[in-house]
């Protein structure tokens, strides 16, 4: 039995009211949307807010709408509704796939897209009960001054473990943040930071109100692959999102890959353009891109499985994702 610490629960009806409550209570308050990340973390005493500001019942945080050349999704839309939404499935199949692979069905009915973007980083030594953490000695991320993963480091290496952000990065999505100083748009590619303790540019007290995804060009394709122990419930041990634009001839004119669940932020793979631009996505090109990704990724022992195995799986997962971009594979995604 895991009890929650005491808190007051607030249900504002508007975004402004929610932001006002967060501002009023400052560091004593946290926003909660689906609660599928925060509530277990509170049960583990990783967070003990005095006030929870609920977002899910705010009408303005819900809905899907077309806005010019983009689809705008409310931050409190559930992952289940994102995964089954017809327009998401048609125009952004890799996003539907990623949202549909988060955790299990109940958690997708509860968890939200905004919450997934703000998911706390995860680590073997962090996501444990207070009893467990106390017995070992606390860590850098919570209550301690040592990292049990690197032993010597002074930088937290807890892993970004959300499924939808890497996909949203390859789709060029932006998010709107609302806070006491007003609203601002941030591109998801500029959103994450390499610090496991607080891995984004979101300030405490800010909430993700909506996600804006530009409609892709006609010959753009994207895919997502996820490595995990079971095909349900689990967080990713490694995941890969890719997108590419193709010329009529089948040659690549833009390509992007993001790997996550290894470090504190989703990692944009570099050097891909030099390898792939102007060429069709042949086995040779895919192999070169996978090899390039392998050289760039160095997983740490921050997850339950062996880091060497995770590293060996990088080119395998990259290959799978890139193969799904081929025209013949498009209908399969």
């Amino acid at each position: 039995m895991l009890r929650l610490p005491p808190f007051r629960y607030h249900r504002p009806r508007t975004i402004d009211e929610a932001v006002g409550l967060l501002d009023r209570w400052g560091s004593r308050a946290l926003p909660v949307s689906g609660g599928t990340d925060l509530i277990p973390n509170m049960k583990h005493r990783l967070f003990t807010p005095d006030h929870l500001i609920a977002l899910k019942q705010i009408p303005d945080m819900r809905g899907f709408r077309r806005d010019g050349s983009a689809l705008v999704i409310g931050g409190a839309e559930t992952l289940a509704s994102v995964a089954r939404h017809p327009e998401v499935r048609r125009r952004f199949p890799s996003l539907a796939a990623a949202a549909g692979q988060v955790a299990g069905p109940q958690l997708r009915n509860m968890g939200t897209l905004g919450g997934n973007i703000c998911l706390d980083t995860r680590c073997t030594y962090y996501n444990q009960t207070e009893f467990w953490r106390d017995a070992l000695g606390y860590c850098l991320k919570k209550d301690g001054d040592v990292c049990h993963v690197t032993r010597v480091g002074k930088k937290c290496v807890a892993a970004h473990s959300a499924d939808t952000p890497p996909v949203l990065m390859t789709l060029g999505a932006t998010i709107e943040l609302a806070g006491p100083e007003g609203r601002r748009d941030v591109g998801l590619n500029d959103f994450f930071l390499a610090d496991g303790i607080w891995n984004s540019r979101r300030k405490p007290g800010e909430i993700v109100t909506r996600v804006r995804i530009p409609f892709p060009s006609r010959d753009s394709r994207a895919a997502y692959t996820k490595l995990r122990q079971r095909r349900s419930i689990d967080f990713p041990l490694l995941s890969v999102a890719v997108s590419a634009d193709f010329q009529r001839s089948g040659r690549v004119c833009q390509i992007m890959g993001v790997v996550t669940a290894l470090g504190a932020r989703p990692r944009l793979l570099t050097g891909w353009a030099r390898i792939a631009l102007g060429r069709p996505l042949s086995n040779e090109v895919i192999e070169a891109l996978a090899e390039r990704a392998h050289r760039q990724c160095h997983p740490l022992e921050n997850a339950i499985v062996d880091a060497d195995w995770r590293r060996a799986m990088v080119p395998v997962q990259v290959r799978l994702a890139l193969e799904a971009l081929r025209p013949s594979a498009a209908s399969a995604s």
Partner: protein
């Protein structure tokens, strides 16, 4: 840390209205089990992994162990106690019995809730759809096969009851 406070929470569970006084930091599961006395929903991992606490909120399976009770206010809550009709079990409960789909039984209430929610939106689910709908419920005894069999046979019974006989499964 703030002191615990008690609040009156208005819940509609299995068609009955309740307005108990509850500590405001209680989960829906704690309220169901320890305040209202509906102990059918089980407290397993208690952190959103295992699915034993699954209840149906507005037609969709949710995990009650990580749902703050105040988040359930104003919503239609159904638990395993509310699945049976007057005087007889739900056809899915019959099918669990006939197929040997429950062994120790601890995961059963959550699985029944996930499966009933599936059958109410899809009266002829494929084996894959059943597996996907139950992918958030862990069972350590059965190996799942008999559970899937039971959901399939309940779907058949329900189609017969509704006089439809639409899908034939395969």
């Amino acid at each position: 840390m703030v002191k615990a406070t008690t609040c009156i929470v208005h819940l509609r569970v299995n068609g009955d209205d309740y307005a108990p006084g509850v500590p405001s930091h209680y989960t829906l599961l704690e309220t169901l089990r320890y305040v209202i006395g509906l102990t059918g929903s089980k407290q397993g991992c208690d952190k959103g992994d295992c699915g034993a606490c699954t209840v149906i909120l507005d037609g969709e399976p949710h995990l009650s162990c990580i749902t703050p009770v105040l988040a359930a206010e104003g919503r239609e809550i159904r638990t395993v106690e509310g699945l049976a009709g007057a005087g007889r079990p739900h056809p899915l409960q019959d099918a669990f019995d006939l197929n040997g789909a429950a062994q120790c039984g601890f995961c059963t209430p959550g699985i029944l809730c996930s499966a009933v929610a599936l059958l109410e939106r899809n009266d002829a689910p494929t084996r894959t759809e059943i597996r996907e709908a139950l992918a958030g419920n862990l069972c350590r005894c059965t190996g799942y096969t008999k559970i899937y069999d039971a959901v399939e046979s309940a779907a058949e019974v329900l189609r017969g009851q509704s006089g439809g006989g639409t899908g034939n499964g395969e």
